[in-house]
Symmetry: none
Subunit: 179 residues, 2 copies
């Protein structure tokens, strides 16, 4: 999984039914960006697809696409990738390096044997050619994908990405090929 934990969707006080067209996560105080689940999903999938450091152009486009799901700015996308990447690495460096040492004495644990799944941070680092997250019900034919430029150290593969059927929106076609 992308993150260490199963993810808990955090939300501000449940705003009444989707009144927010693009009011982002919280309806009240917009101190900082609070990504919606759809936004997180898209970003995560992009990341897992291999995108690590999107260019300014890409950021713009991603942001633009994600703005459909709620308020978002380019810098949010930028920060998201930075943080995600950094924490992925940090997890490995700081947390994974943790030794499997196990001396329990003081505790009252009944010596439950546990298997630490430390490999959860091992990143497959695979790059999908065509990412299909949502089995596309609609038949949005992907337009001719633009040629992806390879950046310095990024994998930029053309991704066919579609989102639809998740929200009540008019079949947003979010192919990653727009990148």
């Amino acid at each position: 999984m992308d993150e260490v934990s199963g993810f808990c969707i955090k939300q501000r006080s449940g705003y009444g039914g989707g009144n927010n067209g693009g009011s982002g996560g919280t309806g009240t105080k917009c101190g900082r960006w609070n990504p919606t689940t759809e936004q997180v999903k898209v970003l995560t999938d992009l990341f897992r697809s291999g995108l690590r450091t999107p260019s300014t152009d890409q950021i713009q486009k991603i942001s633009s696409q994600l703005s459909f799901y709620g308020k978002i700015e380019s810098k949010n996308v930028f920060y998201w990738f930075q943080n995600h990447k950094a924490r992925e690495r940090q997890k490995r460096r700081r947390f994974l390096v943790d030794e499997p040492n196990e001396f329990h004495h003081q505790g009252k644990l009944p010596s439950t044997k546990y298997l630490a799944e430390l490999n959860q941070v091992s990143e497959p680092e695979i790059v999908l050619e065509t990412l299909q997250l949502f089995p596309l019900n609609s038949f949005t034919e992907p337009m001719e994908s633009e040629k992806c430029r390879l950046f310095s150290n990024d994998y930029c593969k053309e991704n066919s990405y579609n989102i639809g059927t998740q929200m009540d929106h008019p079949t947003l076609d979010l192919r990653l090929s727009f990148l």
Copy 2:
């Protein structure tokens, strides 16, 4: 469909994080790390000795040492310091901003523990910067992590720290010098 009104998806059966990864079985309630008294004591003493932001190396060593008292991971140490520092600052700030007259508590009184905490905050905090935490090499490169002087409420005091005398464990010498 239930709106984004976040519901917390129960954590997947354990993740690298938490603490008790397993207890075997499936539906194990993956709780969070619950430090033992000794662990808290050591951490607190370290903090009070001036350690505020341990480096990765230090974190790992602390974690390693504390693992004697129970299960612990590096990330726990990391978060502990992170939280402790943040909350100390937070309390301090709140204390300064808070009501100038700390006597009129007409409503419900804060718990004794809370008051104790406040009292603790009010006492002079001593942050060492000469704590020899990095005596590993003869020519130790001084880390440049001495920029925490943003707020001028740091005092310098020479201090030698030794925990070993307070422990009731075999021969674990937990002097901070191990850092």
